[in-house]
């Protein structure tokens, strides 16, 4: 139990530290990497809380996602290497205040609310995965399906905006828009 507490605290600190680092560096690539580490630390927290499946999933997904993000960084940021050391932020004081109050409020809720009895023992990993599958194909099937539709929508939407209209038009010998 203490071990669990230790690991949760340690990975939590790591997640927070990398999270802060995301906005402390002036290099975009480094920001993306910091976020990747932060998300991985979150995944590790899941593992420490005996939620293996989700933990692994988190680490894998975030690794992919952050890699893509890094590529975009390089594409779109003015100064991806952070060589100029320019500040990429604004309204800093308000944002710090907002961030602190947000965190403070959330902590207050966590501490003040009466969460009820704690369950000491977690189901084992195999059990968890099976139950999750049942949940997914039973009660939550419609949710699952909706998520799928959302993914489809995201694909259509992302392509629709990402591919310039005139490229398509040229290829299709169609009347150019506008």
């Amino acid at each position: 139990m203490y071990a669990q507490a230790f690991f949760v605290a340690a990975f939590g600190l790591a997640a927070i530290g990398f999270g802060v680092a995301v906005f402390r560096t002036s290099s975009m690539v480094r920001s993306a990497l910091a976020l990747l580490f932060s998300q991985t630390a979150v995944g590790c927290m899941f593992l420490a809380m005996q939620t293996e499946f989700l933990g692994v999933l988190q680490i894998m997904m975030m690794a992919t996602e952050m890699s893509i993000m890094t590529i975009f960084m390089v594409m779109f940021m003015m100064d991806p290497g952070g060589l100029g050391g320019m500040d990429m932020s604004h309204q800093k004081r308000f944002s710090i205040g907002a961030g602190l109050s947000a965190a403070g409020a959330a902590i207050a809720v966590a501490l003040l609310a009466d969460w009820g009895p704690i369950t000491a023992e977690a189901p084992d990993a195999a059990m968890q995965t099976r139950e999750l599958g049942i949940e997914m194909l039973g009660r939550s099937m419609l949710i699952f399906e909706t998520a799928a539709v959302t993914i489809l929508t995201a694909m259509i939407a992302a392509t629709a905006v990402a591919i310039p209209a005139h490229t398509l038009a040229d290829n299709g010998n169609k009347e150019v828009s506008e």
């Binding site: 604004h90 309204q91 004081r93 308000f94 944002s95 907002a98 109050s101």
Partner: protein
């Protein structure tokens, strides 16, 4: 159809016919008046035995219009019809040169009809209606030559004076209906306890307006701007008489206090109007003042508790005054005006007219055996026996004295001197009208006995002898003084004031008219203020908006961070006194709101981080507020 409508209907139909056909005015009007005279005579004959005839007409719900022919009403109807008929005959001659005659004859007929309705009205609503209608008719007749500014003014003034005083009648009528529970006049006369003092005083107010009693006498003199037959009708048996008739009819209702007030008003008027008449420089105006003075005498009689005397004097006066006016009308045509400066020697130039005039004047002064002697005698007798004799009797006698004086003065001024006399067209008609009225003026005294018998009202014969003597003395003394002593000398220091109509501080116009206009202007100012109030509401909005706008883009943003700045902004709001001027009532509000809108719009900075900051702030505030409510429970 009862015979009660006979006096009313013919002139009414004649009026409508004339106004619609717009021709044959004299014929129709005369026919109407004559038929009315015949009708009222027949009516008088029917009710002479003392019974009454009643006719109900649909009126207001539960307040039907009623026409009631009692002996007194019928008698008055006869008087009205008589005067009306002969005045109309006179007018045929007098008005020969005028245009717009249908209007004249139509309104004259309507006037007669309204007066007959007033006389015969058996309920308060009808009485009030007739009362106001004669006001309208007099407005139209006085203003017959509406192109002349003085006629237009006089008409407006006459209507306004009488109408304002009519408010008294309105309220009195409401009180009487309220206390009797019915609008029938007879019923409220019979009701126990009569009317309250307040109601009585209100009736008096109404009568004062119509009968031109002090201090409401001013309009009557100015009303001379109308055609002379109109004045003749107005002063003798119609408009001005209405006030006295009202008091005579309601005398049984009046409490002793009210009666005294009536007598006092009458007494003051008879003296004041006598003084004014003595100082007048115009024949018609003199006659008008005399009218007020004579009605003052009638009010004395009513106040003394002997309405019969008042009635008798009313009847006598009706004949006399109409005759006087008709004669004046003749003079007017002969000399192109009625100022005494023009009328010098007219008596000798037109002796037949002057004879009529003089006879009537003597009758009015109260020289036996002319009609005025008997009626005035009755009035003085009444004053002597009344509880307020100490006040009323001297006033009545002074009035009589003054009557003699101004009449003698008039006779002297008409007789002496000289001027250019023009031939008068239509003189025959005028002469017929005049002499037909002089006759009753002379001889009506003979009829007083039967009338008294018929009406069955208390008279004041007890003190007869003393009254006769005193009255005669005053009349003769007055005549002598008037003939011998010029008016300025007679009146002494009062003369200039009397020339101004005894106006106190600018007259009633100044006392009532100016404040009314001041209030009106106040209301208009109030309108401006109201607009300004709406405007200020708008300014408030504007100020709020300015508070917001002064925080422009750059300042607004810190304002979200430091709420303390709101205080500063409030201070600025207070200081900013020089609001932009907006010329619009609610538009100022709109402008204010629009500025608020601009403020709202400024929040939409287009910079997403600032917008998000606002969202975050509001969310945080909401969260805290919800937490606080949670703690409270």
């Amino acid at each position: 159809m009862s015979a009660v409508v006979l006096p009313i209907l013919p002139p009414l139909l004649a009026a409508m016919a004339v106004l619609i056909l717009r021709r044959a005015g004299p014929v129709l009007a005369l026919a109407g008046a004559t038929l009315s005279l015949g009708g009222s005579l027949w009516l008088l004959a029917r009710v002479a035995d003392g019974h009454t005839e009643t006719l109900l007409l649909p009126g207001l719900p539960e307040m039907p219009l009623r026409l009631v022919a009692a002996p007194m009403a019928a008698l008055l109807a006869v008087a009205v019809a008589t005067v009306g008929t002969f005045v109309l005959i006179h007018a045929v001659g007098y008005m020969r040169q005028e245009s717009h005659l249908p209007r004249f004859y139509g309104v004259m007929s309507l006037f007669l009809a309204a007066m007959q309705a007033l006389v015969l009205a058996g309920d308060w609503v009808g009485l009030l209606a007739a009362w106001e209608l004669i006001g309208l008719c007099s407005y139209l007749l006085i203003g017959f030559w509406f192109q002349r500014p003085e006629a237009a003014d006089a008409a407006s003034r006459a209507f306004l004076y009488t109408r304002s005083a009519d408010l008294g009648l309105y309220i009195a009528v409401f009180m009487l209906i309220g206390s009797a529970g019915t609008s029938e006049i007879a019923a409220s006369l019979e009701a126990d306890g009569g009317a309250s003092t307040a109601a009585g005083l209100l009736l008096l107010l109404a009568a004062m307006g119509k009968s031109a009693q002090v201090p409401l006498q001013d309009w009557l003199m100015r009303a001379m701007a109308g055609p002379t037959p109109v004045s003749a009708l107005l002063h003798s048996a119609t408009l001005v008489a209405a006030g006295a008739i009202l008091l005579i009819r309601t005398a049984p209702l009046l409490t002793p206090e009210t009666l005294f007030a009536v007598g006092l008003v009458g007494g003051l008027t008879t003296v004041a109007a006598g003084v004014i008449a003595l100082a007048e420089r115009d024949l018609k105006r003199l006659l008008a003042a005399s009218t007020a003075s004579q009605y003052g005498l009638m009010l004395i009689a009513v106040g003394a508790g002997v309405p019969l005397a008042a009635l008798l004097h009313l009847l006598a006066h009706a004949a006399i005054k109409s005759a006087l006016f008709l004669a004046a009308g003749d003079f007017q045509h002969a000399r192109g005006g009625t100022g005494f400066d023009r009328l010098g020697g007219i008596g000798r130039a037109r002796p037949r007219v002057f004879a009529g005039f003089a006879l009537s004047a003597l009758a009015l002064a109260g020289i036996p055996p002319l009609s005025g002697f008997f009626s005035k005698d009755a009035v003085i007798a009444a004053a002597l026996i009344s509880p307020g004799a100490a006040w009323l009797a001297p006033l009545a006698l002074t009035g009589t004295l003054l009557t003699g004086a101004y009449l003698a003065r008039a006779l002297r001024l008409l007789w002496q001197g000289s001027g250019n006399t023009r031939p008068v067209a239509g003189s025959a008609w005028m002469m017929v009208g005049l002499w037909a009225l002089v006759a009753p003026a002379v001889a009506l005294g003979l009829a007083f006995g039967p009338i008294e018998a018929m009406l069955d009202l208390a008279s004041a014969e007890a003190e007869g002898t003393g009254a006769v003597l005193l009255g005669l003395l005053a009349a003769v003394g007055g005549l002598t003084l008037g003939w011998l002593v010029p008016a300025p000398r007679l009146l002494g220091p009062v003369h200039p004031w009397a020339c101004r109509g005894l106006a106190i501080g600018g007259g009633l116009t100044a006392w009532v008219g100016r404040p009314a206009m001041a209030i009106a202007r106040g209301c208009e100012y109030m309108e401006v203020l109201l607009h300004a109030a709406v405007l200020n509401m708008g300014r408030g909005g504007l100020a709020m908006a300015r508070l917001v706008r002064s925080n422009d883009e750059r300042r607004l943003y810190p304002a979200v961070l430091h709420i303390g700045q709101a205080n500063l902004a409030m201070a600025r709001l207070v200081k900013s006194g020089d609001e932009r001027r907006i010329d619009g009532l609610i538009f100022a509000l709109v402008a204010g709101v629009r500025s608020l809108g601009n403020r709202a719009r400024a929040l939409q900075s287009g910079l997403i981080h600032r917008e998000l900051a606002i969202s975050a702030t509001v969310t945080a505030v909401g969260l805290v507020a919800l937490f606080i409510t949670l703690l409270r429970f």
